[in-house]
């Protein structure tokens, strides 16, 4: 091909680009495909299975052949359609799926084996010998398959998400879409107009039609200018509406800077979630081809694409040109080419009454039956009047009619409907709610009809919203219907391609028919028809027609496969938006985070929270040294730990006590003001799911804590109980987790330290005993809540202040406690202390364990109802004899790891003899031994027995003595001290 006059390219600027290492030039307005064609490059890729040489087939996003890897390094983008890639200066592209070069591809040997590689061949072989599939055949197939290659580097570009809520979304900026947008825009409605192209106009840009005697591009420009001036209209070009979801939600990807060498400071793409009250689908139509023998030669393209390259991109087809069409539209290609000074050898048309639009010969009753020219078309075989004849031809345009782009109309699984008149599927009756279809997508494909249909559908849609839109003046335009003939393929014993990319031929469809893979969904899966990157946009309907011919059923009875999002492929990067890498989830920081950081703390992820794990000191070379020191400080003097992450829920109201009675398995209504009680919650199915403390600060005021992990869930469940089960109770809830900073002050010196900061308080054991709570002030008037509760088993308190004072409180406590040896401790030491004390956490309350298993059976009150109480009495739960026990390894230096399974000593180890498992494990500096907790069959009756903790993954068996889980101070004297 070469450049001719005219076109919508900017010849004042020249862009240099590379394809497979060679330098070429093009202009702004070019796509990579148009620029390659203008440079005479016909061979651009290889097919998937046979590695057949391929050229550009189309001029749009339906392209099956011209796939390239665009850019390089971390920005390499495999499988990019050259037909939609906008040319920019310095663009680099490489052909794919070939070795070593696109011109000489060793895997083209597959083509010679084609008789073996029929539809579904791989299901019938590669089974012998048995081990070879995975060792030999499959790896070879995997290497040969695939198309482009990922860079394997992280995507360096930025992405964004946006939300729009227009009255009307117009999908497609061609004749119908522009008329719809203009109608709605003038009426003052909020309009979003989205088009996948980088230029509005759609098919108008590819035609030579006049609109009211002026070039169509003039009208497009004037409409675009008017829409740009309307504040209620937003135009998105380079924006593909890829999916129709529920309730008027559409997914749209805008390629913000893909047309630039680098995004610069901008994002590369934006994902728009558009919630539209109404939608006009004006997505146009896609041309189909007519399969004949060797119809995949480079140089054979869709007739409409050939016309678009000539009209929009000023690229004339190479050499002798012919058109093969079964409809009048194909003749337009010939007429346009002739008008642009490109001679056309003939239009070959199977119809006896084929027209002639002037300037070229029409061969009526004729078909193309073959093609030559492996790397570029050189001749075609034409059968005219029953006589075959090879004629020289380097460029052949093929048109088999147009398929309305009904994909979005079918995303809610409404089936499109076959129209005998159009010989095409039109949108069916069941459209996504709020959607109407206009223009060529609705089968109203002449320019004249599309303009008027777009305007009318927009008016109707707005009227449903109570917006009256005035009729707009629309230009007169061509109104010639295509009159396609039901001529679907040229019968032949050779291979005639239906699906180019996946190498599905008419023969394959015949074989599928023979093997009874006739339902269209089976046809698709057996042959891989329509499963390539183009999703069969140019192939599927033709394949259906071939199958219908074979079965003797009509096309409507043969049916279509389902259209699924996305309409065209969408980069994963933009679907992931910016919420990736370190931003995948929000990061919650505790109030003392900055302080802890300054202390050199190591942090650990706990759900979304970052918590201090331990605080290494100079000279400590292993985390265990730090943890042992911190834990011992709590046992011997005093430690501080930020426990803000525990869920906190304020429960207020006259019937708060009664409410809590119903959500906790134990009784809370009888709790005295100023006292705290440990509480257990069950799910309604009777299984334990959370525990914490419940403090009564006033007659009608409780504050409860939940585990960190379940803070949200418990609150949700309590709101469920309040609103859905017992809305009559006078109780209100508020989540206070983020409102209060809470610090555990634990150890024998904790009372001394707290006395130094709590204002005017008597913290003596008599005045403020174990399980007391009070609203106090600290540091001279700061309101605070003080709880005498202990997770470590030592004399301990938790003190809460408004979150913004948390950091200051920690600093004050550290400062005032220096002489007492105050030591900050992290989650690791917290874990050691609680295992030493036998407290259950998520590892034990894991949603599979009961109160009885946890040794908390008595906490499920039988005197009252509570959530889960009834179901906890089911036989299966009652009969479960596994109980929480402590485990001390016989050799104190050997760790009984969490996740080991427990067996009777000497027993065979298999599923049937499994006696339980280890839930938690640590080294106890206090005892100088590893210790562990776990659930053991009849555990409460086996104290003193030596059992085996087996870890088959590590190949270890460790003997451990069954003990009480309360390793430290089992009588609980210290915490009451």
């Amino acid at each position: 091909m070469s450049r001719i006059d005219g076109g919508l390219i900017d010849r004042t600027r020249t862009l240099t680009f590379r394809f497979d290492g060679r330098r070429y030039q093009g202009h702004p307005g070019d796509t990579l495909a148009s620029a390659l064609l203008a440079n005479g490059v016909r061979l651009v890729g290889r097919s998937f299975k046979y590695h057949r040489p391929r050229g550009v087939l189309s001029a749009g996003s339906e392209e099956p052949n011209a796939l390239v890897t665009l850019r390089s390094g971390a920005r390499a983008e495999p499988n990019t359609r050259a037909t939609t890639a906008e040319l920019f200066d310095g663009l680099e592209a490489a052909s794919q799926n070939r070795w070593p070069t696109v011109g000489f591809d060793l895997l083209a040997a597959n083509d010679l084996s084609a008789p073996l590689l029929t539809a579904g061949f791989y299901y019938k072989t590669f089974m012998w010998p048995r081990g070879w599939w995975e060792k030999l055949y499959e790896p070879a197939i995997r290497r040969a398959a695939g198309l482009g290659r990922l860079s394997m580097e992280p995507d360096p570009d930025a992405y964004d998400k946006g939300f729009l809520h227009p009255d009307l979304l117009v999908v497609g900026g061609g004749a119908a879409g522009l008329a719809a947008a203009l109608t709605a825009g003038r009426a003052g409605a909020q309009v979003v107009l989205a088009d996948e192209d980088f230029r509005l106009g759609g098919r108008l840009l590819a035609e030579r039609h006049a609109l009211d005697d002026a070039p169509a591009a003039d009208w497009v420009r004037s409409v675009e200018a008017e829409l740009a001036g309307l504040p209620n209209v937003r135009m998105l070009t380079r924006a593909t509406v890829f999916g129709a979801y529920d309730h008027g939600v559409y997914g749209v990807v805008e390629r913000v800077s893909d047309h630039l060498a680098r995004p610069g400071g901008a994002v590369r793409q934006t994902l728009w979630r558009i919630t539209a009250k109404r939608t006009v689908l004006a997505a146009g139509a896609t041309e189909r081809h007519i399969p004949f023998r060797d119809n995949d030669r480079p140089g054979i393209m869709l007739a409409g694409a050939m016309r678009a390259y000539a009209n929009r991109w000023a690229v004339a087809p190479k050499g002798r040109v012919a058109v093969f069409t079964n409809n009048d539209d194909g003749h337009r290609t010939a007429a346009d080419l002739v008008a642009r000074g490109v001679p056309v050898m003939a239009v070959i048309d199977p119809r006896e009454d084929a027209p002639n639009l002037g300037g070229y010969p029409t061969w009526t009753g004729a078909v193309v039956t073959g093609a030559r020219g492996r790397r570029g078309l050189s001749a075609i075989e034409v059968v005219r009047n029953g006589r075959p004849e090879w004629v020289e031809c380097a460029s052949l345009g093929v048109s088999g009619g147009w398929n309305p782009n009904v994909a979005l109309a079918s995303h809610h699984r409404g089936r499109p409907q076959w129209s005998e008149e159009h010989l095409a599927f039109l949108p069916g009756a069941e459209l996504p709610p709020g959607m109407v279809v206009a223009g060529a997508a609705a089968g109203n494909g002449t320019t004249h009809a599309a303009l008027r249909d777009g305007a009318m559908k927009a008016r109707d849609a707005l009227e449903e919203l109570g917006v009256r839109a005035a009729a707009i003046d629309l230009p007169e335009a061509e109104d010639r219907p295509d009159r396609p003939a039901a001529y679907w393929h040229v019968p032949d014993r050779g291979r005639a391609w239906v699906d180019f990319q996946n190498d599905v031929t008419v023969k394959d469809i015949r074989l599928a028919h023979k093997e009874n893979m006739r339902p269209v969904e089976q046809l698709k899966r057996w042959t891989t028809l329509g499963m390539a990157t183009d999703q069969g946009k140019t192939a599927n309907v033709t394949a259906l027609a071939v199958m219908a011919e074979l079965t003797g059923k009509g096309i409507p009875q043969t049916g279509t496969t389902i259209f699924r999002p996305p309409y065209t492929p969408v980069a994963l990067s933009v679907l992931g938006g910016g919420d990736t890498g370190a931003h995948f989830r929000p990061t919650r920081l505790t109030p003392t985070h900055e302080w802890a950081k300054a202390q050199g703390a190591e942090f650990v992820e706990v759900g979304q929270w970052m918590r201090a794990q331990y605080f290494p000191k100079d000279g400590e070379t292993h985390w265990r040294q730090s943890v042992n020191r911190e834990a011992m400080a709590v046992r011997k003097s005093i430690g501080l730990c930020d426990v803000t992450t525990l869920g906190k829920i304020d429960v207020q109201g006259a019937e708060a006590g009664e409410f809590l009675n119903r959500v906790y398995s134990n009784t809370m209504a009888t709790l005295k003001v100023g006292r705290v009680r440990y509480g257990l919650m069950l799910r309604e199915d009777g299984v334990a799911y959370d525990d914490g403390t419940c403090a009564r600060l006033g007659e009608d005021h409780y504050v409860i804590t939940t585990t960190t992990a379940n803070a949200g869930l418990v609150f949700r469940n309590m709101e469920f109980a309040r609103q859905c089960l017992w809305p009559d109770l006078d109780v209100q809830l508020i989540s206070a987790t983020d409102a209060w900073a809470q610090i555990a002050v634990a150890g024998p010196q904790s009372r001394t330290l707290l006395s130094r900061i709590v204002d005017d308080a008597d913290l003596s054991n008599e005045a403020f005993p174990f399980m007391a709570c009070a609203a106090v002030t600290v540091c001279g008037g700061l309101r605070a809540r003080l709880f005498r509760i202990s997770f470590s088993g030592e004399l301990a308190y938790e003190i809460a202040v408004p979150a913004r004072y948390g950091n200051a409180l920690m600093e004050r406590l550290m400062h005032r406690g220096q002489d007492l040896g105050v030591t900050p401790y992290g989650t690791e030491a917290l874990g050691v202390l609680r295992i030493e004390k036998g407290h259950a956490v998520a590892a034990e309350i894991n949603g599979q364990t009961t109160a009885a298993m946890l040794g908390l059976a008595r906490m499920v009150s039988e005197k009252k109802d509570s959530i889960g109480a009834v179901m906890s009495r089911r036989a299966g739960l009652v009969e479960d004899r596994r109980r929480l026990v402590g485990l001390r390894p016989v050799d104190p230096s050997r760790q009984v790891v969490a996740g080991a399974h427990l067996f009777t000593a000497g027993a065979e180890q298999r599923t049937e003899t499994d006696q339980g498992w280890v839930t938690s494990s640590c080294f106890s500096p206090h005892l100088g031994s590893y210790i562990a907790m776990g659930f053991l069959e009849d555990g409460q009756d086996r104290l003193g027995e030596i059992v085996v903790a087996a870890d088959p993954l590590a190949g270890t068996d460790i003997e451990a003595k069954v003990v009480s889980p309360h390793f430290v101070d089992p009588e609980g004297e210290r915490l009451r001290d």
């Binding site: 529920d246 309730h247 008027g248 309604e684 109480a869 179901m871």
Partner: protein
């Protein structure tokens, strides 16, 4: 999806957490003779209709209302939404 919140108007379903069949409002009487069997039905068995379904959604990232939403499980069309507390209060 959009949920027509009775107080707040249409809200993106992403703001909500889904629970399931609104019959979970009808917690059995724990004192009934066959309470355990009735609780088993309540907790485990579902009509699971293909069609109109009354179901519970929690406006977790919103006003913390529990809603009873009437929705078609085949088309996803939403036919109405009420505050669960109102439904319960009305004796449903």
């Amino acid at each position: 999806m959009l949920i027509p919140h009775p107080l707040l108007g249409p809200r993106d379903a992403q703001e909500f957490t889904y629970l399931g069949d609104a019959r979970l409002l009808e917690r059995p009487d724990p004192a009934a003779e066959n309470a355990e069997a009735r609780f088993c039905d309540y907790v485990y068995l579902r009509d699971n209709p293909a069609g109109v379904h009354r179901e519970l959604w929690f406006h977790e990232h919103g006003d913390r209302s529990w809603l009873v939403v009437t929705r078609d499980t085949v088309t996803h069309e939403i036919l109405g939404a009420e505050l669960a507390a109102d439904v319960k209060g009305a004796g449903a």
